[in-house]
Amino acid sequence: MPKIPQQVISLGILFLIAIGGFVIARKFFIPHSFGLYGHYRADAVEEIKKQEIVYAGAKACYDCHDDIYDLKAQSYHKDVACEVCHGPAASHVENPDGVLPPIPNDRKGCAICHDYSPPRPTGFPQIIEARHNPGKVCKSCHNPHNPTLPHTPESCSACHREIYMKKSISSHASLECATCHTVPEGHLTSPRANEVGKPQKREFCGQCHAEDAQVSKDILRIDLKTHGERSLCWECHYPHDPETNT
């Protein structure tokens, strides 16, 4: 039998100790219920089950408040659960008269979703809380269970705040939205069924930007016949924040 080199014996012992230590450590550190149902500690399920239930769920609200539930189900807030605004209500369900869920009487809750934030999609109603009827409680004008606006918005910025913000500091700041967009009558009350129109001809932008346009000479001009081939202007340029140096 060939002689085993000394180095191999030393390393072998060291590796055996390391592997043995790892195996023992595993036994010691892995919780006994690990892997019973899957790649997690099965006892965690029992521990979670033991936690106190604080939310009742929207169906529980429906049992007693079906009128409000039905009203909300038809409104823009149909996907906002009751307990989002009224807080956890399991104790209220257990003891309806003894524990009453709070009725929000401030502006903070609504601002979580409706305060202006640029990442929100355009068309989502947003206000700048500090400017929008300061001091007034939201529900004094808006019914949270049916939040259709009490009167049609006066400005496009009520829903298109992000575009409004961009346009307000762009070279198109002085243009009204309706200068370029055709706004159907029903758009203010039912925006998705009555979408606004966009310019469909290059000549529309050409009223100001064509070489022969009768407007201030400071406005950028292009040759409509050659510039951009047959594309519509807004397919390349963003009219709410147009580039100014090209």
Binding site: P5, Q6, Q7, I9, S10, L11, I13, L14, A18, F22, A25, R26, F29, I30, F34, G35, H39, Y116, P118, P119, P121, I128, A130, M165, K166, S168, I169
Partner: protein, 401 residues
Amino acid sequence: MEPTIIQQAMMGFQSFSGYIYPNEYELQWSLLIVLYPYLTGLVAGAFILASLERVFRVTVILPVYRLSLLTALAFLIVAPMPLFAHLGHPERALEMLWTPHLQSAMAMFGFVYAWYLLVVLLLEIWFDFRKDIVMYSKNSRGLKKYFYLLLTLGSTDISEEALRFDNKMCKFITVMGIPSAFLLHGYVGFIFGSIKANPWWSSVLMPIVFLFSAIVSGIALMILIYMVTTLFRWKKIDMGCLNKLAEFLFYTMIVDFSLELLDFIHRLYESEESIHILSQLITNRLFVSLIVTQIFLGSIVPILGLIVGRFGKLPDELRRIVYFLSAVLVQVGIFSIRWNVVIGGQLFSKSLRGLTVYKVQLLGLEGLLMTVFLLILPLFILYGIVKILPPWTDSELEVHK
């Protein structure tokens, strides 16, 4: 005073543009995650350089062979630290080892790391330095003697036969180490390349691009460390070795640059729906770090520098300066690559409609100071290792010949 609408809008523009999902506002993978692939790249690169001498018998680079191994070790020790600091709960990293999830590439890190550290690097270093360790244990006194005796692991046989076995094992481990080094850094590239939801990352070329950039950074690092250590030891630089290193750096940079160009052209030709936001990302958010730092300063300038330095008729002093500056620029370029991959991949929205920004923190566990500390730490560790196991070949050339 309340900001005006315009001020608010401007504040908004500074942080993001277009539409981003709410959970994309804050970047989850910070500067430390930039550092992690950068460090592992240096490890893999330094090791692959060392293997050139051992496996392919490029004896001219012998002066950096052992230094490369020790450098790889010093950087490998620090490589997981950015991850620990990023996670905030370093002790939880062990959970991945106790109960590994075999279907998660990320959970495999502990095993890839342990394999590379314990089976490849430490073993190779041990076999390579064993004769020296035994000699130190015999010639030292006091605690030092016992320390080196402990390092021998009880294997004090330095007969010719035993040394021949050491040499054979070293070669075997290096041969095994090359695919392991590929695995280590290819794995890091795989982590990014396999994220199919992110068009900036999702590319089969990612592991291979990572790998070649790793080799580039490792060779450049060894040029720097070799030049600096030789300077401080008042020794003469072996120009044959340095020229060879520069040559290797040049060749690998050409391959790396071509691969990245291929990736770029491929994306451009495929022109998937993400191409618009990616072009905005490049021209807007990543202009400095990609076009200026990565491509111009980190690739084109050092490639030209290496061509002039290696193939031009320059005096050795000037040649050394050109190599040194090129190697520094390469490091800046490779760090930019990591930055552009990790941070760039998080700057655009998955909606493909908006861009956000990343602001580097100064303090804190994931801040700039921590990053600088983790970048310097391997150099101190290397200093310590070099004190214990001097890798200098000036008096030991005959060991390998």
